[in-house]
């Protein structure tokens, strides 16, 4: 990559465990975590409030799942960069997310280099 931007990132995941893991990975890559949300609804609200450069979005969450949240965010900002966090076995959900406008995905269990690479690529796109 010619240009490697550092982003302001919003993490949407229902578990503190995953949020912490992601936060540490992203932080180590020089990104700023501007906010965290624990469900899809909160994700949309935080996006509107913080206008982050990128969102990492868990797929399975209570109240509102990641795909619905993605829709809400894209409605507010059609250029929103959303990266889905997913697990093997959820291919169908991720494909649906990509059709809905997700810009990338990362697979749990997270591998720091891969996560950072994907985030970097999506930020640069």
């Amino acid at each position: 990559m010619i240009w490697c931007p550092m982003g302001r990132i919003l993490i949407v995941d229902d578990t503190l465990f995953m949020r912490t893991l992601l936060k540490n990975i992203l932080f180590s890559g020089g990104h700023t975590i501007v906010g965290e949300a624990a469900d899809g609804e909160e994700g949309i609200a935080k996006y509107k409030e913080l206008k982050p450069d990128l969102v990492t979005m868990d797929v399975v969450m209570p109240k509102m799942n990641g795909i619905e949240s993605l829709k809400g965010i894209r409605q507010f900002d059609p250029n929103a960069k959303v990266v889905m966090c997913t697990a093997v076995g959820q291919e169908q959900m991720v494909k649906l997310a990509i059709k809905t406008g997700a810009r990338g995905y990362i697979v749990k269990p997270f591998q720091a280099p891969k996560v950072l690479e994907e985030v970097k690529n999506v930020l640069a796109s």
């Binding site: 578990t15 465990f17 540490n24 959900m93 997270f110 720091a112 690529n121």
Partner: protein, 656 residues
């Protein structure tokens, strides 16, 4: 995995929560199909699976995965919820709990029963899917309906006048979802032009029929370089872009511009890993409880020495020192408050385990019980919480064993078949009150009265004069049980006396009330913390004694002729109330003047203590008596005052 060690504590804490959610929701599910509960379980199992995979706890992951398979069938309504299935799922949660325990103590979640349980789960999956192969579909059944189908994609689009390029993309071997990656590449290319053909087709990719290679023909004005960038990205091993001269398909002749993964990336990765070590920021830490206790002890010492410094400063009247001490004092009280806060835990920590117990006991007894928990967010000091679980468990078992009747009996009595057991907690001024009530048969007060006479605890005349409340108090006597037989879950000689003494050890009290035919209610009143308390310092026979302020009602003056003798006991009349007098002569010798009386209360009983002098009120740290001395009735511990004087703290509960 070692890099995840730092997350072990967090994993354990959160997995425990998820485990509790699963158990709780399974119990709901057992009552009948409940979409919300299934979703809850699904989500918790899924999260647990994900977290286990991240930590490399493969067995836990495998078990969760098998559970998910079964759950997805339930969710798709192809498998009915039945008691044996719930039993199996609960057995899985038991194993998961043991795994978490193991992980907490440094293990990797290995458990001997995993294989067996996974096999059992698979049997259910086979049964649920039958001839229909719904397992894979069931997973996506939960997904929202897919959006409108896109135009069939293998079809050539309209190139217009734009140049056409052939883009070849190879997805890296390590990609976990190559098809999804291919889809992203297509989406990115869509943004730059019109995709004419793709091989394999979009539909095939959508269905997962994708190996590693994607070939796309696209009509675009963006230029080679832009297309190359759009197609490359994470997990893309190689991209080649070449112009297609319509009619002359010489794609092979064009010089491909490719970007294979380079050595640089490996270097990048290493740097990142190094940075990661440095940049790791942890907001939550887990602390060994013993260390916390140790810190608490040190804070207690500080509190004591603060008092001592204050006395010295007062004695020598040093102004600067006074000022310095007041600053220290502020920090110490803040530290003390903070420590108290850190030690406070919501009652849910122990409450959450109870629904499972209720289920097991009720099932064993053939009873139907609805269990309601309220106020689980009420916080208590950890030291109090530790001693609370067992007595509560005992009361809950008791409530089901002896309180709630069999469904048929209830129906005959005109009640709902399902008995109600309610556990609630709330703050009441400085105390935490926990109530456990059932709508069962209640306690047969006459039987208790009879039994008390049989046991020689009261004469039959005395017993017949006792109020219901006084009779019920017999239940807390050692060895007093009205149950005819000892059941294998509760009972077994350990009775309410143990509950009472454990609660009293926590400086709390237990009350019971009961209405025959309508139910029984236990009320536990607990101090939120037991380490630091407010006491009144008094003197008897020149010795200092500390009396917990929450049991002091009032201080009054006493004249010798006001004391009346009733049999061998003494009493005074204080505002039309007969107040028994209790003398601490045995412990401290007779008071020299004894012209002051301190009225103390425990529950509804009051008594007066004659003494010489009231020194004042103070916050002190109660230290338990040393094992060498053993426990001494009437004294709950000692405290060290600022001047180094060791003062006994009187236990009013045992005195009144």
């Amino acid at each position: 995995m070692s890099e995840f060690e730092a997350y072990r504590g967090l994993f354990v804490a959160e997995s425990r929560e998820n485990h509790e959610t699963i158990v709780k929701s399974l119990l709901v599910l057992e009552q009948g199909i409940d979409e919300g509960a299934i979703d809850e379980i699904f989500r918790a199992v899924h999260t647990l699976k994900g977290a286990s995979a991240s930590m490399g706890f493969e067995e836990t992951e495998r078990l969760c995965h098998s559970m998910e398979d079964v759950l997805s069938l339930i969710r798709a309504h192809t498998l009915d919820v039945s008691p044996p299935l719930v039993d199996l799922l609960l057995a899985c949660t038991d194993v998961i709990e043991e795994m978490i325990d193991g992980i907490e103590s440094g293990g990797n979640g290995h458990h001997g029963d995993t294989g067996h349980l996974v096999d059992m789960l698979r049997l259910w999956v086979d049964r649920g899917s039958g001839n229909r192969s719904v397992v894979s579909n069931a997973v996506s059944a939960s997904a929202p309906a897919p959006p409108d189908p896109e135009p069939p994609s293998g079809d050539p689009g309209d190139p217009g006048d734009r140049p056409v390029y052939r883009v070849r993309v190879r997805v890296s071997e390590e990609s976990a979802m190559a098809d999804v990656r291919a889809m992203l590449v297509l989406t990115n290319l869509d943004a730059l032009g019109t995709v004419l053909t793709t091989t394999p087709s979009r539909q095939a990719i959508d269905e997962g029929a994708f190996e590693r290679d994607l070939e796309v023909e696209i009509a675009s004005d963006a230029g080679e370089e832009a297309l190359r960038i759009a197609a490359s990205g994470t997990e893309i091993a190689a991209v080649t872009v070449s112009p297609v001269h319509r009619g002359t398909d010489d794609s092979l002749g064009a010089a491909p511009s490719s970007c294979p993964p380079g050595v640089r990336e490996e270097e990048d990765r290493r740097t990142r890993e190094r940075d990661r070590e440095k940049g790791r920021e942890i907001k939550n830490i887990r602390v060994d409880i013993h260390q916390l206790d140790h810190i608490m002890n040190l804070v207690e010492d500080l509190v004591i020495n603060r008092g001592r410094l204050k006395q010295i400063a007062e004695l020598h009247r040093i102004k600067e020192m006074d000022e310095a001490i007041s600053v220290v004092e502020r920090s110490v009280s803040e530290l003390q408050n903070l420590m108290m806060l850190i030690r406070m835990i919501p009652l849910n920590q122990i409450f959450n385990r109870f629904p499972r117990v209720v289920r097991d006991v009720a099932k064993h007894d053939g009873k139907e019980v609805e269990f309601v928990i309220e106020g689980g967010e009420t916080e208590l000091d950890r030291s109090v919480m530790d001693g609370l679980s067992d007595p509560l468990l005992h009361l809950i078992r008791n409530g089901i064993n002896h309180g709630i009747e069999l469904p048929e009996v209830r129906e005959r009595a005109g009640k709902r078949r399902v008995g109600m057991l309610r556990l609630s907690a709330h703050r009441d001024r400085d105390n935490v009150v926990i109530e456990l009530s059932d709508d069962g048969a209640g306690i047969d007060i006459e039987r208790v009265r009879k039994k008390a006479v049989e046991r020689g605890l009261a004469t039959s005349e005395a017993a017949s004069l006792l109020t219901d409340e006084e009779v019920l108090a017999f239940l807390f006597q050692p060895g007093f049980s009205t149950a005819e037989k000892i059941t294998d879950i509760s009972g077994r000689g350990v009775g309410l006396d143990v509950v009472k003494s454990s609660i009293e050890a926590l400086k709390g009290s237990v009350k019971v009330s009961s209405v025959p035919g309508q139910g029984t209610r236990f009320e536990l009143i607990l101090p939120p913390t037991m380490a630091i308390i407010q006491v009144m310092i008094v003197r008897i026979n020149t010795r200092r004694i500390a009396i917990p302020i929450n049991s002091v009602i009032e201080v009054a003056s006493l004249t010798a002729d006001a004391i009346h003798r009733i049999g061998s006991n003494e009493a005074i009349l204080l505002r039309d109330e007969v107040l028994p007098i209790y003398r601490l002569d045995e412990m401290f010798g007779p008071p020299t003047k004894g012209d002051i009386i301190l009225v103390v209360q425990y529950e509804d009983r009051k008594c007066g203590l004659p003494l010489d002098l009231v020194e004042g009120q103070q916050e002190v740290v109660v230290k338990p008596l040393n094992r060498l001395i053993g426990s001494s009735r009437g004294v709950s511990g000692v405290t060290i005052l600022g001047d180094g004087d060791v003062v006994p703290v009187v236990d009013v509960n045992t005195m009144v």
